[in-house]
């Protein structure tokens, strides 16, 4: 069992002298730049929806993933196309970023299109769920994305079930589940991970520790310093990643994924991050009161786009003008503009929104349909 990196997360293994390299060190320049692009895609999706919501064009609650994009992007980048994910409310960009390496516009890739996701957000019939359940509750059986309910941690048992079926079939997929740190207090979190550990199922639970569960700080949800310590209760690895650093997230999740794919069973990867806004957009004003502004400023200080940019510059992958061409980081949704993003990022989102706008509402009668398979 790899040592829980709760202690060692800041101590990367040396890559010199034939010692194993960290997974991120094996990434090519193109891949590194692609990761950077994914951060833009995730950020732009979020800020654009915040704007659209403010313009009154959206219903439902928007759970911003602002400042948490490195977790979303870094944790799924290294997956195989057929691996499964189970995103949660704050992970909307994950739906279209899954298997994005095979081309955002590749019709055969194992991820959803921006059109499907925008249709969902806009509550239109073009949504894969035909707008029957809201926002992040979509998914796709064929693309290996598990649909969540609102009940937090409620999909981890299903993740274990998916993994069990694959294992029986001799299929070597990994299942990534996502949960906030607060959600780890739920009973099914325990039941599902316990079962997965007993049966050594390839289920990796990524905990997005953004320090707050709605209006409750992490120390009232979890008694240990690292949420990853929950792993110790199951004798499974618990990793701690710097959730602002897409490469560190990638490294820790890949370690967990390879551990799982090798048949060693489940693990927990805690990514330490910080929620930029309110719990949902309805909570922005109150959050400004219940959270110390200093804490908030500090939490937002390491913008994952900035962190990634710095790394790419250090690596020599971003040079000259390109290094500062699109500065989306450290700007609120109200400040940032389209010019702060690569045009193809804006374009991709525009295509999604256009599709959504043109997609009809579902027909009223659909409300009575699909209660049962006929």
């Amino acid at each position: 069992m790899p040592t829980s990196s709760a202690q060692t997360s800041e101590k990367p293994k040396s890559s010199a002298n034939g010692v194993a390299k960290r997974p991120s060190e094996l990434l090519t320049k193109e891949q590194c730049l692609e990761l950077f692009q994914h951060l833009y895609l995730a950020r732009y999706f979020d800020v654009r929806l915040i704007k659209e919501k403010k313009r009154g064009r959206l219903r439902g609650t928007l759970y911003s993933s602002h400042n948490q994009e490195a977790v979303i992007v870094g944790s799924i980048y290294g997956l195989q196309p057929n691996d499964w994910i189970s995103p949660i409310h704050r992970d909307m960009p994950m739906f279209f970023l899954k298997d994005a390496r095979n081309g955002l516009r590749n019709p055969n890739r194992m991820g959803m299109t921006i059109e499907e996701i925008c249709a969902q957000v806009w509550c239109k019939a073009g949504s894969p769920g035909r707008a029957r359940d809201n926002w992040s509750h979509i998914g796709s059986q064929s693309k290996h994305i598990i649909h969540s309910t609102s009940m937090l941690a409620g999909t981890i048992p299903a993740a274990a079930g998916v993994a069990l079926a694959d294992k029986i079939n001799g299929v070597n997929n990994v299942v990534l589940t996502f949960n906030g740190e607060g959600s780890t207090a739920q009973g099914v979190f325990h039941e599902a991970i316990n079962f997965a550990a007993v049966r050594k199922l390839p289920v990796v639970t990524v905990v997005e520790n953004n320090m707050w569960a709605y209006g409750t700080p992490v120390e009232l949800e979890c008694p240990t310093e690292d949420v990853a310590d929950r792993a110790k209760g199951y004798g499974i690895p618990g990793f701690v990643a710097n959730g602002q650093d897409v490469f560190d997230v990638y490294d820790k999740v890949m370690e967990a994924v390879e551990w799982a794919r090798a048949g060693n069973g489940p693990s927990i990867v805690e990514c330490k991050t910080f929620r930029a806004y309110g719990h949902g957009d309805h909570d922005d004003d109150r959050a400004a009161k219940y959270r110390d502004p200093k804490e908030v400023a500090q939490g937002r200080a390491n913008d994952p786009i900035a962190v990634c940019r710095k790394r790419l510059i250090d690596l020599g992958y971003l040079t000259g003008d390109a290094a500062t061409q699109y500065v989306a980081e450290n700007k609120g949704a109200g400040e940032v503009t389209n010019e702060d993003f690569p045009p193809e990022v804006v374009e991709y989102m525009n295509e999604g929104i256009e599709f959504a706008m043109n997609s009809p509402l579902p027909e009223a009668e659909e409300g009575g349909m699909w209660v049962f398979k006929e």
Partner: protein, 337 residues
């Protein structure tokens, strides 16, 4: 005019009424605790507990982990040890995560101890559809608990009742599941002045919201207002004079008021927003036919949610939930039977 404004400002909405009830009961009973997710620092997702942790302290108002089963179970244990507890479900939909603790631990404690142990716990939370909350933020799942012996079940539709029933529930000594209609929380049109003095609304007493002689609507929660609207339509457009009964409390149920009304109208439509099968509307229909069959000149109809979840998209949501049109149609059917 300054005075009128003054009066205007003391009108309380449904949410404020609940907040007042909790505040007054907290002051009145120092053994009352509040447990729930985000109810302290934040003051609750909707603000029902706003200001209470500040006022009464962290030893009275607890921000709980996201653990509905623990919230209920801890409430039961605290009750066993002398406390009265309000346990909030952030949305009543999440009560399913604490289901076993409610129906098997809490509901039965008095029964299985032959009355030794009382469990004064009120489990409350925002409930109901019509707001685009979709499957997991729209539920009215009261029938599960009406069907679980040992629980009282309450659902106020006005600020006055919200406050009075909350106080009654907290003093009742039995476990109560308290359905708050979140679409009413901040509805200005139903805001009202509340009595200065302490008052309760007894569990098990219905209210007649509109008198009528031709047919009876029996309902509660959101649908009280739909039935009142439907009654206006029936009266203005068809000259049919409907009585509207707001039962307010499901367990115990004030059957007397229903039968008295039926003695006059001989026709009844029961309206609620839960799925039809095994819902409380059906229970009322069954009781009426069991106990007051002779009073019926027409079949007692139900207008309820279809047997579906509550979908997100507005056209679908309206399709599955009861609305004024459907209620009018049912009213016409029984009136013309």
């Amino acid at each position: 005019m300054a005075v009128a404004q003054q009066v205007g400002t003391v009108k309380k909405n449904y949410l404020q009424a609940l907040n007042e009830a909790l505040r007054e009961e907290m002051a009145r009973n120092e053994d009352l605790l509040l447990l729930g997710e985000d109810i302290g620092i934040l003051g609750g997702a909707f603000g029902v507990t706003e200001g209470l942790q500040e006022e009464f302290g962290g030893h009275r108002v607890y921000d709980m982990p996201i653990s509905e089963a623990a919230i209920v179970g801890v409430a039961v244990g605290a009750a066993l040890n002398g406390k009265t507890v309000m346990a909030e479900m952030q949305f009543i939909d999440f009560i399913s995560c604490g289901f076993d603790q409610i129906v098997n631990m809490m509901a039965t404690y008095h029964y299985r101890t032959a009355g030794e142990v009382n469990i004064p716990v009120v489990v409350r939370g925002p409930a109901g559809g019509y707001g685009g909350g979709a499957l997991y933020h729209s539920q009215m799942n009261e029938a599960w608990f009406c069907h679980s012996p040992g629980l009282k079940v309450v659902c106020p539709s006005t600020p006055y009742d919200a406050k009075g029933l909350m106080k009654a529930a907290l003093r009742d000594g039995n476990p109560v599941i308290f359905y708050e209609i979140k679409e009413l929380y901040r509805l200005n049109s139903i805001a009202e002045e509340l009595p200065e003095e302490d008052y309760t609304v007894p569990l098990g007493k219905a209210a007649i919201r509109r008198s009528g002689k031709d047919l009876t609507f029996v309902t509660y929660g959101n649908n009280v207002y739909h039935c009142l609207e439907a009654a206006e339509v029936l009266f203005k457009e068809h000259g049919i004079d409907a009585e509207v009964i707001d039962i307010r409390s499901l367990v115990p149920l004030d059957e007397e008021t229903i039968y008295t009304s039926l003695g006059k109208t001989n026709r009844v439509v029961v309206v609620n927003e839960a799925p039809m099968t095994c819902g409380f509307a059906g229970e009322i229909v069954a009781r009426i036919t069991n106990n007051a069959f002779d009073l019926l000149d027409a079949p007692p109809l139900r207008v309820t949610r279809l047997d579906t979840p509550v979908p997100w998209a507005k056209p679908l949501e309206s399709f599955v939930l009861p609305g004024v049109d459907k209620i009018v149609a049912a009213g016409l059917r029984v009136a013309r039977f």
